[in-house]
Symmetry: C2
Subunit: 158 residues, 2 copies
DNA sequence: TCTATTCCCTAGTAATTTACTCAGGTTTCA
DNA sequence: TGAAACCTGAGTAAATTACTAGGGAATAGA
């Protein structure tokens, strides 16, 4: 049971938006630099987020992105679903499981998926950006991203 | 956020064990037939479940498998973890995230993983097999699996 | 109007993971 | 002894993931 990079990037990018696009829209290039995410990949991701109505875009020079609604009205579930990160543990519905003859665990997964969804839907973007850790990180990123010099530290440290 | 077939099979097979191996051990071939799972694949899976101490095996003719401990002492988390279905939403820890310079969402995923784990650890095998739906299914499978004729219904129905 | 900047879109692709199959063991009961 | 069952390692096709490439379209400012 894991999350793909896509889902993680989506949440990271949305938090970046919440932290930095308070008054004006911000560019994808900025997010890409701050969060060390490929620009092209982010572009694809942002199309999904935009289609889902979570963000709005301004085209052209001085353009960029900002949240389409308040931080309080965007949940983790909203973001993950928008990023095609379906919260669905259920069986695909192959020949071993169909409406007439469901598999032994069918209702188990259906119910669990629902519970997970509700859990994630109760975590709002506003809650996420409020944490101490995120606040510290955001300030640091504002500083270190000047000049777009990504800082890479070898994993062998520590 | 999804579960792989492996994790689903593991839970299905453990439920089958709980339902059918009450007094004596049961064969993998039986589980494979009842649950429409490939025998070879089940063998691999059962190796993991056995290594994790969830089931015990009896080799030789008349051999088979049974639960290694009580249904009440085996949780959904136990099964999923044993099946390599790690409950870990956290970032892999690439160059963008390390102990010194963690990514923006690092603690978020760590905490969420923990909450999901605890949730799944509270669901015991005994709870799962007690549901009405499972009881009905189990009885049906006892009957329909006689002669090992798998029943396949086209997905186009309905 | 031109040009740089930005979003927008489609298509491809290498690497990884998944869900198996295959081909043999080994152990035990009858 | 031989059938029934577990046990094991190796291989592999298909799907998925995490990107890259290469353009196009809209807009601000000169």
């Amino acid at each position: 049971m894991k999350l793909t990079t896509r889902g993680r990037y989506a949440v990271t990018a949305m938090m970046d938006l919440a932290l930095h696009a308070k008054l004006d829209c911000i560019t994808l290039a900025g997010i890409a630099a701050r969060q060390s995410i490929s620009l092209s990949y982010l572009e694809q991701l942002f199309r999904s987020l935009r289609n889902a109505g979570l963000i709005k875009s301004v085209r052209g020079a001085k353009g960029g992105y900002m949240l389409a609604r308040s931080e309080k009205e965007i949940s983790l579930a909203d973001i993950l679903v928008a990023a095609d990160e379906h919260i669905n543990l259920a069986c695909g519905g192959g020949s071993t499981c169909n409406p007439i003859d469901p598999c032994l665990t069918h209702s188990l997964w259906t119910n669990l998926s629902q519970e997970f969804f509700e859990f994630l839907d109760n975590k709002k973007l506003s809650d996420l950006v409020r944490s101490r850790h995120v606040q510290t990180m955001a300030t640091r990123q504002d500083v270190t991203s000047i000049g777009d010099i990504p800082i890479h530290i070898s994993r062998t440290i520590g």
